[in-house]
């Protein structure tokens, strides 16, 4: 009876909050409909400037091929290298393609490539991706020219790429499970912490403490609504991704829920820890921020863990988001079963047990 009443109070407060119910609806919508586009690592609309010294049919064809690839936007054909450099200096050009005057001759004799590439690396990843795309375009152009003219080449090796588990290398599919991870972490870890600290700050917890209610009961009743919200968000994200983009989970949805349940245990422990160590909302917010930033940056959500230095990789083993994000991607994209990603479950479980024990030990019934 008391349980039902405590839960009723929490739900009432949740739905009376000016922001939370709106967030409940907008969070999954944003996560699936807006953010996958925004956080895409695909680079498009690279501003290209060409210095065409050859002015031949072949050079025209090369430029045409680059522009038609869809990644580049031709800013202008500059007559001098100085003019091209100037455009890059004023940030109008991301890449400069310089074609030498003897392009056709060089192609015919098969000597070294007669073009130069210059990229703006103010934005490092954009620069390197631009350079990659550009050299891809050029080499495939050269290959096409050669195969057209000289079929004799016996040692000609053609490389074709096939993407597994994400056939069209669609970045959005890749981000959907990762964004679910972020949403669930926020909702189940940090909101309850702020809620508990809020009761501390307002002094209402004082009034609760003199009642015969056990504090564990009280806190558990605070966490449950957020768990319900977390599963609601997980379901609606999956549903929206299916309706709007036609993405479906390759593995079992049940496994996704199991991992979410495990992750909730971790975030609940973290939330309680934060609420134990902070007396007001500012402190809780600051701690929340700190953990959220660290967890997200070294989770493998945005940058692959394998490309981090060894010491950073070692740190990721302490990050619950690493395991959860990894499992979610494996199950969602690849269709892994629970037993194929058992190590993620183990990692989450161990961190969860550690956090929970610490939270319970650090919290005292009486001051």
């Amino acid at each position: 009876m008391v349980w039902i009443y405590l839960l009723e109070k929490e739900f009432k407060q949740f739905f009376r909050d000016p922001g939370l119910p709106k967030m409940l609806i907008s969070f999954p919508l944003m996560m699936v409909l807006v953010f996958p586009f925004a956080v895409s690592m695909e680079v498009r609309n690279i501003n290209l400037v060409v210095v065409d010294n050859s002015c031949s049919v072949t050079s025209e064809r090369l430029i045409d091929k680059c522009v038609k690839s869809g990644y580049f936007r031709l800013v202008e054909k500059s007559s001098t290298p100085e003019r091209a450099q100037y455009l890059m200096d004023i940030n109008k050009a991301d890449a400069i393609l310089t074609i030498s005057s003897d392009l056709e001759k060089q192609l015919a004799f098969g000597e070294s490539l007669p073009v130069g590439i210059k990229v703006n690396t103010i934005n490092g990843s954009k620069g390197s991706i631009a350079a990659g795309y550009l050299s891809n375009c050029i080499s495939s152009f050269v290959a096409a020219e050669n195969s057209g003219e000289r079929l004799s080449a016996g040692n000609h090796i053609e490389v074709s790429t096939k993407f597994y588990y994400n056939k069209y290398m669609d970045y959005k599919v890749f981000m959907v499970p990762a964004l679910i991870v972020i949403a669930i972490t926020m909702i189940t870890g940090f909101f309850p912490a702020l809620n508990i600290v809020n009761e501390k700050e307002k002094g209402t917890i004082e009034q609760i403490n003199v009642t015969p209610i056990r504090r564990s009961t009280f806190i558990l009743c605070k966490l449950i609504p957020y768990w319900a919200v977390a599963f609601f968000i997980l379901s609606s994200c999956l549903f929206i991704a299916w309706i709007v983009f036609g993405y479906t989970c390759a593995g079992s949805i049940f496994t996704l829920f199991v991992f979410t349940g495990l992750h909730i245990m971790v975030t609940a422990g973290l939330g309680l820890l934060i609420s134990n160590y902070s007396d007001n909302a500012q402190q809780a917010m600051f701690m929340t921020w700190f953990f959220m930033m660290v967890f997200m940056l070294i989770s493998g959500i945005f940058t692959p863990i394998a490309s981090m230095p060894a010491w950073a990789q070692a740190i990721t083993y302490l990050n619950p988001l690493r395991y959860y994000a990894d499992a979610m991607r494996f199950v969602y994209l690849k269709g892994s079963t629970f037993f194929e990603v058992w190590y993620d479950a183990l990692g989450l479980f161990l961190i969860g047990v550690a956090m929970m024990s610490w939270a319970i030990l650090s919290y005292r019934k009486q001051e």
Binding site: V2, G203, Q207, T211
Partner: protein, 303 residues
């Protein structure tokens, strides 16, 4: 057998001693006042007696239950109203009352008789959110929530701080009626005038209880004669009076000075004569009986 009994309770925050060997005896069915200035340790004492805080030394019992060992039992029989408003501001008046009744395992219907008189004034606003009530109404709601589970003892921590004079009077009238219903009331206040409304009081200062008993018995123990001096230029007089032989202490009390003098050695005439000699012929001097505030000043000065 006392209803609430504390023996030599000490509590320190680091090197600061918030309570120093505090003892207290409260009888069943009385209004007992803990009276002292801010920072005297009133709230700390209340938090210990309501089982919210552990202490370093001593022991305390409420209705025979030890505050540390039997805290669960104590929490069933007490009502506590902390110094600051601490109900849910986003729940309505009705919902707050319902909530607190339920978590004590009771119901509004079962406890309604206890709070009927106070709650009847809130009834027109029962759908309103608690955060939107006026100060006086919030206080009444807090009192209702502390009483709805029919506690046998009510702890009120500075209930009248920051409340206007009329509401304060009204509040004390409510306490009288609660007492008439058989509830023991322990109340703390920084206002000395409220001491007269309690059956018995303890004066507390810097973590120590400096005197306890009925207001009359404390006043009776006042060891000096008390004179009141008033006049036009009252402040220079203070300096002269303090230098006089036989004057124990002299404090400004509003527009007057209260002068404590040793009995029999100094009289009204002595003082009047000295003031005239010093050019303060317009000052009036008269004998007065001490109030609780004079007692507090005297006891505090003794420490």
């Amino acid at each position: 057998m006392y209803f609430i009994e504390a023996r030599n309770i000490s509590k320190g925050y680091g090197s600061f001693k918030a309570l120093d060997r505090v003892s207290l005896q409260v009888r069943k069915g009385e209004i007992y006042g803990i009276i002292g200035p801010d920072g005297a340790g009133k709230t700390t004492l209340f938090r210990i007696l309501t089982t919210l805080m552990l202490f370093d030394n001593g022991n305390a019992e409420v209705e025979g239950f030890d505050v540390v060992r039997d805290y669960v039992k104590i929490r069933r029989i007490i009502g506590y109203m902390p110094g600051h408003f601490s109900l849910y501001e986003d729940l309505s008046v009705e919902e707050n009352l319902d909530f607190f009744a339920t978590i004590f395992g009771s119901s509004v219907a079962a406890g309604y008789e206890t709070v009927r008189e106070i709650y009847s004034q809130l009834e027109p606003f029962r759908k309103r959110k608690a955060g939107k009530l006026s100060g006086g109404m919030k206080q009444k709601l807090a009192l209702c929530c502390a009483l709805i589970h029919k506690p046998s003892v009510l702890f009120l921590d500075e209930p009248t701080t920051g409340v206007d004079a009329i509401s304060r009077k009204e509040f004390w009238n409510m306490l009288e009626r609660i007492k008439a219903g058989g509830v023991t009331v322990l109340v703390s206040t920084p206002y000395m005038d409220e001491a007269l409304l309690c059956d018995r009081i303890s004066l507390i200062r810097q973590g120590r209880i400096i005197d306890s008993g009925t207001v009359d018995s404390i006043i009776e123990r006042y060891p000096y004669s008390l004179l009141a001096v008033s006049g036009e230029r009252i402040f220079p007089v203070l300096k002269i009076l303090r230098q006089l032989k036989g004057v124990v202490s002299c404090f400004a009390f509003g527009t007057e000075h209260h002068v404590a003098v040793c009995k029999e050695t100094v009289t009204v005439e002595n003082i009047r004569q000295i003031l005239v000699e010093n050019g303060f012929a317009d000052c009036a001097v008269r004998n007065i009986s001490p109030g609780i505030e004079d007692c507090f000043m005297q006891l505090a000065g003794k420490e």
